[in-house]
């Protein structure tokens, strides 16, 4: 009797420890009533919506608080229009440049390279086609066109409007121009505006 009880105990414990060590199984919970949110969390499936996706896109035509909409679309005509109309609203300060460098390193350098030569890590490895060198490609390009390209993408570059806010995009443009033309920045704000006005 005692022997049988002991073997049952051992088998039970063995099964218990094996079940706990299975990496494909999340393990067991004790009193889970305070573990799981009653409200639908960011990525939790929500059966009330289509495809059970809880993270809905905003209703068309609505804008988040504090967000300034930009009245352009992804067409080549609007690319030209952005080039003619938009100027960088953010003043170039040391703080802005530090932020911009941080953002550039995360979002741009993988392809464009740390110095903007088009030699980022995935380009060097031959995984992704090389983007053009900033110093060559950006000569005479108004800021607005760069902004449009970052927002909506250009050629093989995808749109970055979900990764960079409007302010962040303008900050990064400051940094990109510094990489392309050096600290002095031959195509300054004034010139870009002048060019924009002649295009109009």
């Amino acid at each position: 009797m005692l022997n049988r009880l002991l073997t049952i105990c051992i088998i039970f414990i063995l099964a218990f420890t094996i079940a706990c060590n299975d990496p494909k199984h999340p393990g067991f919970e004790y009193m889970p009533d305070m573990y799981h949110s009653k409200a639908y969390e960011t990525y939790a499936p929500n059966p009330n919506y289509k495809d059970s996706v809880a993270t809905l896109e905003p209703v068309e035509g609505t804008i988040p608080r504090g967000f300034k909409p930009i009245h352009y679309n992804s067409s080549p005509e609007d690319y030209e229009r952005a080039g003619a109309e938009l100027t960088n609203p953010i003043e170039k300060t040391d703080e802005v440049m530090a932020d911009a460098k941080h953002l550039y390193t995360i979002y741009c350098a993988v392809c464009h390279g740390a110095k903007g030569k088009g030699d980022g890590t995935i380009v060097e490895r031959g995984v992704f086609p090389p983007p053009p060198d900033y110093a060559v490609r950006l000569e005479g390009m108004p800021d607005g066109k760069m902004f449009h390209a970052i927002t909506f993408g250009k050629n093989l570059m995808g749109p970055y409007n979900s990764q960079l806010t409007v302010e962040e995009r303008w900050k990064v443009i400051h940094y990109i121009k510094e990489l392309a033309f050096g600290k002095e920045n031959p195509t300054t704000e004034g010139e870009a505006v002048a060019e924009a006005s002649t295009e109009q």
Binding site: P26, E29, Y35, Y43, V53, T121, P130, N155, L156, Q163
Partner: protein, 415 residues
């Protein structure tokens, strides 16, 4: 005569070498120019943003037109009224090709030469296969080394005792007098019985079993509600090792929210497509896994376009890191303000082909770190802690830990 017959082949060889050298210099220039100017939109054997360049010379009416097009395509469209060029412009979303006024005729000729002689790389693709193939070397239980060793010892002991027994028996047979001197031979079965009945043996077994039972129960109880080591199979065999480790893409490139908000954010499909518009084949699984992104987002890889009015499907990733609802955790507080590396909590993600939970995510684990971690008090975020700043200045305290600014208060995380 000897000299003459000898020198003729030499001259020919020299000429061939010069020709090859001259040609290869040109082709290399072409390759360089192609990579610098054309490769961001064109591939030679595949459609990218623009058409595949293979056989381009045959497609154009005259080389002259082709050169003019490359140098300034918008101008060409306007002035030449070439139906082929107009059709091309219409086919590729009316995006004009960038003008290349800096390219001379010789440069363009070199690029076209390179295009004509291009051989797709075949062998090199296999070289990438090694990445991530190795099994994950998780911790091996030391028991697996101990058990065979024990087994070997037992076998040896049995063999030796048998041999000794046989020796003694044979000695006794030869010389019956030695019975008094030599020890009595005990069979293995008898010996085992004596061993089992010894009280120290019984005590040792009881203590061992009790420890094991208690330890297992303890482990099992503490692991309730914790998921350390949880490694579910995800719907797409996405390798963090390949993306973050080998290709060195910053974690925050995809996990945009890590610096901006509570959740680090599962990247939306448009972020995948930033690269996978051009990269349709991986080193490990070929096109199968990347095709799952295309299927979800509605990308036509053949045409290189998004399918219009496509009903997009969500990818149902399995959440690994779960904090209970009664704990608040904010990524930006830790990553942006605290400047903590992702790896501190998530382990060496850049080496994981399949992600597993590195940390226990238990309260003790949180608190331990809050007690030890020194806060970067120069951060403007902490300028309100005037008393602590004063103490730091006076030298009363050397540094401020997270605990020092309330990092172990209950309501800091539980509210």
């Amino acid at each position: 005569m000897k000299l003459k017959t000898g020198s003729f082949p030499n001259v020919v060889i020299l000429m061939i070498i010069l020709l090859i050298a001259g040609f290869s210099v040109k082709a290399q220039d072409g390759e360089k120019l192609f990579k610098a100017n054309c490769a961001s939109c064109h591939k030679i054997d595949k459609k990218l943003i623009g058409p595949a360049l293979q056989g381009i010379r045959d497609r154009w009416e005259s080389e002259e037109n082709l050169y003019a097009w490359i140098k300034n395509s918008p101008k060409y469209l306007e002035e030449m009224n070439d139906p082929y060029a107009t059709a091309l412009f219409e086919e590729y979303n009316k995006t004009p090709m960038t003008a290349f006024p800096q390219l001379g005729d010789a440069d363009i000729a070199a690029v076209l030469e390179y295009v004509d002689n291009y051989q797709p790389p075949t062998a090199s693709a296999g070289g990438e296969g090694e990445t991530g193939g190795a099994a994950q070397g998780g911790g091996v239980d030391p028991l697996w080394f101990l058990l065979p060793a024990l087994l070997v010892l037992i076998v040896l002991a049995v063999a030796f005792s048998k041999a000794i027994g046989a020796l003694i028996n044979s000695a006794k047979e030869k010389d019956p007098d030695s019975e008094k001197v030599l020890p009595k031979v005990i069979s293995l079965k008898e010996r085992f019985g004596i061993f089992l009945k010894h009280r120290f043996t019984i005590l040792a077994i009881v203590i061992f079993v009790l420890c094991w039972v208690f330890g297992s129960l303890w482990d099992g109880a503490t692991s309730l509600g914790r998921q350390e080591g949880y490694q579910p199979a995800q719907p797409i065999k996405f390798s963090h090792k390949l993306h973050a480790g080998i290709n060195k893409i910053d974690c925050k490139y995809c996990h945009v929210g890590a610096e901006k908000g509570k959740a680090s954010v599962i990247p939306s499909l448009n972020i995948c497509m930033n690269c996978h518009m051009a990269v349709s084949e991986g080193p490990e699984y070929g096109t199968t896994e990347i095709a799952k992104i295309y299927d979800a987002v509605g990308w036509d890889a053949e045409k290189g376009k998004y399918i219009e009015d496509y009903e997009q499907k969500p990818i149902e990733w399995i959440k690994i890191h779960n904090l209970p609802d009664h704990v608040y955790f904010n990524h930006s507080q830790h990553v942006k303000v605290g400047g903590i590396e992702c790896q501190k909590c998530h382990g060496s993600i850049e080496e994981m082909d399949e992600v597993y939970q590195h940390a226990p995510l238990s309260m003790g684990w949180c608190i331990d770190c809050h007690r030890e971690t020194k806060v970067n008090f120069d951060n403007k975020y902490y300028s309100d802690y005037e008393a602590l700043h004063e103490k730091l200045k006076n030298g009363e305290i050397e540094n401020v830990t997270v605990e020092g600014i309330g990092g172990t208060e209950c309501q800091k995380c539980h509210y």
